[in-house]
Amino acid sequence: MAPTAPTAAKSASPSQPSGKSEVADLKQQLRQLAGSRAPDADDQRRDVFKRVISCMTAGIDVSAAFGEMVLCSATSDVVTKKMCYLYVGAHARAHPDLALLTINFLQRDCRDQDPTIRGLALRSLCSLRVPNLVEYLVTPLTTGLKDPSAYVRMIAAVGAAKLYHISATACIDADLPASLKALMLSDPDAQVVANCLHALQEIWTLEAASSEAAAREIETLYSKPVVFYLLNKIKEFSEWAQCLVLELASKFLPSDNNEIFDIMNLLEDRLQHANGAVVLATIKVFLHLTMSMTDVHQQVYERIKAPLLTLVGAGSPEQSYSVLCHLHLLVMRAPMLFSSDYKSFYCQFSDPSYVKKLKLEMLTAIANESNTYEIVTELCEYAGNVDVPIARESIRAVGKIALQQYDVNAIVDRLLQFLEMDKDFVTAETLVLVKDLLRKYPQWSHDCIAVVGNISSKNIQEPKGKAALIWMLGEYSQDMHDAPYILESLVENWDEEHSPEVRLHLLTAVMKCFFKRPPETQKALGATLAAGLSNTHQDVHDRALFYYRLLQYDPNVAERVVNPPKQAVSVFADTQSGEMKDRIFDEFNSLSVVYQKPSYMFTDKEHRGPFEYSEDLTNLTVGAETTENVISAQRYQENDNDLLLSTSDKEDNGTRASNGSSTSTYNAPSDLIGSSLISSQTPAETSLINTIGPTSSSQSNFSLDDLLGLGVTESPAPSPPVLSLNSKPVLDPGTFQRKWGQLALALSQECSLSPQGAASLMNPQSLIRHMQSNYIQCIASGGQPPNYKFFFYAQKDGATAFFLVECIVNTASAKAQLKIKADDGTAAEAFSTLFQSALSQFGLS
């Protein structure tokens, strides 16, 4: 744009620096230009518009000029038009009345000869986000979807999603999703197809919350015809659309292995794409497809290694980091497969420290018999690094490797060499590690304490390191010649030592030392206890007092408390649970991997899938929701329940019992008998000692079943159930669905419900709550009497393995059909027993 000569308008009111007068100035100029037919009016308009946009970018509020901008909008200059559209799109929401003025010219532009103008106008029209203008949107959108120009169709497809956000009903009523779907499967232009898919996914996902039909529609997107149709065209799509299609394919549930291999062969060359996003999306498809085929899954790891490493080296630091995070996830899952690639994870001088940190973790994980020597040698080099946090991490890494190896001989030597480096933080970190190492390998105490004994406690500043040293002094005071004297000098400096952590350790260490070498320590012990008692820190004070009284009570007891025989620690607790890692793996190629936490922990609530997403699972084909006609029956049931006394829900029990209200259908009466007895016990353990009515609560439920003549079909052995379940398993519907598709059927059984249970099952919720109290969670349910269908899941306590159950209940025959799938097939039988007995309890408790 050539700079225009200053106009009369400009010189009349010179622009001023302040934002407000700037806007006023712009307004005035716009007003003068509005009707101008001067030959250079277009240029002037461009110029003023440009200044408006410039203010807008800088964050100055220019919405006051809305009216003037609209007045100036009638122009044939495309550049000016675009600026105007940009402005109007940003401010229309604040000026719904004035926005109406823009409709006219936008609608006219939507019928322009030039497809570019048509497209631009349609895009702006849909971006106004003013609810009362919706009526003007539908017609241009419907014609836009049929436009001869692919550019316009592409914009119309996204426009449909925009309309849905302004007014969902308008979008659905105009049947736009159906048109989008037709277009998606027929349009010759790949970008139109991609945008239709974008729009459909967005509309149906939101719609699914209230409509089962939409949920079914989502399901068809993941069906074989659609996925294969799109995959076959994959090379026509832009890189970004390819990622979209690949993401869709990763949710596809293949029916047999041939389909899996077909897809993998088709996508093989995508792994060689220069765009990292395409490569990662492809890898996700490969990983998810092969979940149930161990051998192939492992081959996939081998195959994707090289492309991932290339991506790490190719892009910007940010891109490398993202890829490295994914690599990190895979390395942590299968360290063995990467053990020969350890050199790829060596830190480079230019790596930022967040990259180095990841690499150190990976090096730690993949260290095994064959490469430990090289890895530890490399790590030792980093210990002298100028980057202190990385140097610390490196030392810790060496320690971790030592803890996970059987042959720690050489590593211990290395660690002890660190102590000779005489750097404060190195010494501190090393002492902490040596302490942990001794807890696991007490046999090394001889070598370690020889070196540790030489360290002057005065040289250690960091509390953690000091505490570790003191711990060792106490623990090995027998073997360390001058331990009592070092401790004594430490006690003398009690006042200079401010860290409560160090003081606590000092108390304990002196106690330990006292029982091992009483005459030498007695004096120090007295001083320590006195100092501790007068300490203002609560914990220090309490511990000192506790030791003091313990000694008063009986020194022998005190010795047993302080110096019990210790067992070597075999495994240190892992920070992140396996289940968490699995969830992150399920969300491969997403931010979860970078944050190292599953998405539910960081996404906005609005965008989070609801927990009980009963409509989302569309394999549910049994009828719709129960409706009002059930309610009367439910009320009737309530009275029955009074006699049956349900106590399945502890929480309700506690809260409702106090006010005695009967808002809930069946929990309320539980306070009539022994709720205290019950609630103290209910979900504490998952063994099936369920609270069973007025009879004894400790009685085994199996015998009770027999007593009532119901019997569990499989008549399990009367041993206590060996399987215990995780009380709070977490599984999202998507994962459930995928697992359900991938896992083979472990068990299929029929069992019966108690007649009371069958009768009380008037809506799915009652059974869901009952099962929940047995730590079996429902992920989806549906149906109408007499048929109900449930999908349950549970997780073995302390393990990652899930059990998935499809349960179809017929209340008329009091029978239930069970289909159980399990990550760990061997436990399926036990779980089935547990599940059935829980089910047979329903209505009795």
Binding site: V158, L271, E318, Y595
Partner: protein, 429 residues
């Protein structure tokens, strides 16, 4: 689904700001900037910030922050690639990418952004496709007066010392002379990482290379790019290795490589030729990675010795092991010394290093305290940075660059350039 896209200057000013979905609360750019600015103070900070459910993903290009925000759990690689691509497309249009050129052309950038992303969905990033929707003419910024952006700028700015105007030329702008100059640039850029042990052995070595192309050819002719005939890919073990050229000349064995979408590999397996119709603008034809041993351009030996109770001497030798016709420049050598060093005095002939030459640095260190024990653990390692134009360590070559066009008079300029840079060039003490 992208909520917003914005570009911030180093001082945090908005250069462009586009909201696509209107779902992120106001002030996101400020929140982001504050986070990033105070990053270094807090090491524990997670890499891409997430504040109140808003995810901020950014890349830093030419000193500017290119940022997107999103509310959903999307693929980080997708967004990062997209951001890089937006930067690249913008550069194609403006010729030069920096704060000045962006500010002058922000309306054009808005035009681009409108087409690149719609309602948060990436649409197209092809410079060519975008051409028909962009109506602003770029306003050129004089590249000559640009301040240098440090060695990393080389990858965004094209290589120096080449026919200057070409690489900073906009792909779309018509030149004052009227006719566009027909030319094509092929750059083989290699980043090398080498670690020498204290005794001078090579512990690790790796090359990350890319063949970058920038085409100013009209009419999109097909191009054939021939690489070394004996190039082989994949470290599949010696058994499957082809001994066609087993002589000492050295086969180039790449660990892995990937290619741009437009590259046809039909004849790649037979004669190592890439066939492609280059799209307008700058793009990576091929990225590759090599861990095969190669001859490092420099031998670095470093020695530190105690010379008295609170003194030490450093001896640093650098020998350039490449041809005399080649000169390395922008060389820096870094060596951390103990934190209690008070004074260092040294002598060194500075400047460029010519192939075959050897340079020595002697330095005397004076310490404020007596060094305890092992001085080698307190100092180093030595790290070296350099750029060597017209040299590549991998020996990967472009044998020829053929442009298919019928006319005999058609003879566009072809530039094939090599450059090697240090990524991590470390010698341990």
């Amino acid at each position: 689904m992208i909520s917003q896209f914005f570009v911030l200057s180093q001082r945090g000013d908005h250069i462009v700001f586009r909201d696509y979905r209107g779902e992120v609360p106001k002030g996101s750019a400020e929140i982001f900037f504050r986070k990033v600015k105070f990053w270094n103070d807090d090491e524990a900070e997670e890499a891409p910030p997430n504040v109140d459910g808003v995810n901020y993903i950014h890349v830093k290009v030419a000193g500017l922050f290119f940022v997107v925000t999103t509310m959903v759990n999307v693929s980080p690689s997708l967004l990062l690639e997209l951001l890089q691509r937006i930067a690249r497309v913008t550069k194609d249009y403006l010729g030069v990418l920096n704060e000045d050129s962006l500010r002058k052309n922000f309306i054009l950038v808005y035009e681009l952004l409108d087409e690149v992303i719609d309602f948060g969905y990436p649409q197209t990033t092809s410079t060519e496709v975008l051409k028909s929707y962009i109506f602003n003419e770029p306003i050129m910024v004089d590249a000559g007066r640009l301040p240098p952006l440090g060695p990393a700028a080389m990858f965004m700015q094209g290589t120096k010392r080449m026919p200057g105007t070409a690489v900073t030329k906009s792909v779309v702008a018509t030149e004052p002379g009227g006719k566009k100059r027909e030319e094509i640039f092929v750059d083989i850029i290699e980043k090398i990482s080498v670690t020498f042990s204290s005794s001078g052995y090579i512990l690790t070595s790796e090359i990350d290379g890319t063949i970058q192309m920038k085409s100013y050819l009209s009419g999109n002719p097909e191009i054939r790019l021939a690489l070394n005939e004996d190039l082989s890919i994949g470290r599949t073990g010696s058994s499957s290795h082809d001994y066609r050229s087993s002589s000492g000349s050295g086969t180039v064995i790449l660990d892995d490589c990937n290619f741009h979408e437009s590259v046809h590999l039909d004849s790649f397996d037979i004669d190592r030729t890439l066939t492609l119709i280059p799209p307008d603008g700058e793009f990576a034809v091929m990225n590759y990675r090599m861990t095969q041993e190669f001859k490092p351009p420099f031998r670095v030996t470093a020695l530190i010795e105690e010379a008295g109770p609170s003194r030490a001497e450093v001896l640093l030798k650098i020998r350039a092991e490449f041809s005399v016709n080649v000169t390395a420049n922008t060389i820096t050598v870094q060596m951390p010394v103990p934190s209690y060093t008070m004074r260092a005095s040294f002598e060194l002939e500075a400047g460029a290093i010519v192939g075959g030459s050897e340079h020595t640095l002697r330095a005397k260190l004076t310490f404020s305290q007596e060094s305890h024990g092992n001085i080698t653990k307190e100092a180093g390692p030595v790290n070296m940075n350099f750029t060597i134009p017209m040299y590549n360590a991998s020996k990967l070559q472009v044998r020829y660059l053929q442009i298919a066009k019928k006319s005999k008079t058609y003879n566009p300029y072809r530039w094939v350039r090599y450059v090697t840079q240090a990524n991590s060039y470390v010698a341990r003490l």
